[in-house]
């Protein structure tokens, strides 16, 4: 697989949200606005790239029996690094995303890529795979965030262009499920390759 297709496969072919259907919890919970979705996507991408690199390096020496716990500790370490960095430099973002930053540890995308890709490929390829899947995840989260923000508060990235308050339900839980459901329908209809 060429280097470029490694990076772009996350957008449509291996899109983590609409095709692989992984990491649903942060996808639904943090996309209340376009900005929140984008930030969550970038945070996950940070962990994904670093854990892919580390796991592709340690995979050859880890005994098969304990590989899952080892991977989880590697991922948890990078999540802790991310938590400390965010608390120091962007505390407001950290408090908005809240619980879902530590929960990147149990995001199936990260462990999934470690198991499916990083443990049998080189460092560079694994890093690019992390970047590609991370970009795909960020893109999906941002799109969901944009739709929910337009419907829920009539703005995009905080720029308000519709009068009124919008439909509150779309910022709350039901809207998350509904927007994701309908976007998945559109994705299946127009973008998915059989």
């Amino acid at each position: 697989m060429s280097k470029l297709s490694l990076i772009t496969k996350g957008f449509i072919k291996d899109n983590p949200t609409f095709v692989l259907v992984l990491g649903m919890c942060p996808t639904l919970a943090t996309t209340t606005s376009a900005m929140n979705g984008l930030e969550m996507g970038l945070a996950t991408m940070f962990v994904l790239i670093l854990s892919n690199i580390a796991i592709s390096l340690v995979a050859p020496v880890v005994p098969d029996k304990v590989h899952i716990p080892v991977y989880i500790v590697v991922i948890a370490t990078f999540v802790t690094v991310l938590q400390l960095l965010m608390q120091a430099f962007v505390p407001s973002v950290y408090s908005t995303l809240g619980l879902f930053i530590p929960l990147i540890v149990v995001n199936c995308i990260v462990l999934g890529r470690a198991e499916a890709y990083a443990n049998k490929h080189g460092v560079l390829d694994s890093a690019l795979d992390g970047l590609g899947i991370g970009l795909g995840f960020t893109l999906s989260l941002t799109v969901i965030g944009i739709v929910r923000e337009i419907l829920g508060s009539g703005s995009v990235f905080g720029w308000k262009f519709l009068p009124g308050d919008g439909i509150l339900a779309f910022v709350m839980a039901p809207g998350a499920f509904m927007v994701l459901g309908y976007l998945m329908v559109l994705f299946n209809k127009y973008l998915k390759k059989e």
């Binding site: 530590p102 149990v106 509904m178």
Partner: protein
């Protein structure tokens, strides 16, 4: 006593873990095809969440806090949960083979169920407000919170599995088949649960 009642009602109905906190969605969508598997999964989750919350609460209070190691919370908790799930699996296999048969296949999946880690982190970091004053939960309240939350998980899961069994018999447009229609159904359920907000 009133505090416990508040915790229970709020955790099961008002802040339902699946329908308003979005924790543990993957298994919720994954195993809710059949009522029987949904019930089995809910039972296993209920058991593990309650046990894991008690253990991580104690680890946090008597190991991490006294030594100033709060920054290790995420790593420590996930390791405790993984070890606990393994132990429970081994013990169940020996003591109650029938229960192991019922829960067995779901147990390994639970380690990466974010509901478990989510509840464990919530009870040690979030301040709850009762009668105007906010405070962190004690061990008793944390246990009740964990139990009630996991009952809420079971409630939503079993209700949804019932709906989904009916849904499977219907003629759904091709693009809606599978997950999309399931998500839209959950959305309507979440709307119904919004009706509970304001009770507490």
């Amino acid at each position: 006593m009133a505090e416990y009642l508040l915790i229970i009602v709020s955790a099961i109905f008002v802040n339902n873990i699946l329908l308003s906190q979005f924790l543990g969605i993957c298994p919720f969508l994954g195993v809710s095809n059949k009522l029987s598997t949904a019930t089995g999964m809910s039972g296993a989750v209920c058991f593990v969440i309650t046990l894991a919350t008690v253990v991580t609460f104690l680890v946090n209070k008597y190991l991490l806090l006294p030594f100033g190691l709060e920054f290790l919370q995420t790593i420590a908790f996930i390791l405790v949960i993984a070890a606990l799930v393994q132990t429970v699996e081994i013990i169940l296999k020996k003591i109650s083979p029938s229960l192991y048969q019922a829960l067995g296949i779901f147990l390994p999946l639970i380690t990466t169920n974010c509901a478990v880690l989510g509840v464990a982190i919530t009870v040690v970091t979030k301040e709850f407000t009762f009668g105007g004053q906010a405070h962190l939960l004690g061990l008793g309240e944390a246990t009740v919170y964990a139990l009630a939350t996991s009952l809420g998980y079971g409630l939503a899961m079993i209700l949804f599995a019932g709906v989904r069994e009916r849904l499977a018999l219907n003629d759904v447009p091709k693009a809606f088949k599978g997950l999309p229609i399931a998500l839209i159904t959950v959305s309507i359920m979440a709307m119904a649960f919004l009706g509970f907000s304001g009770i507490v």
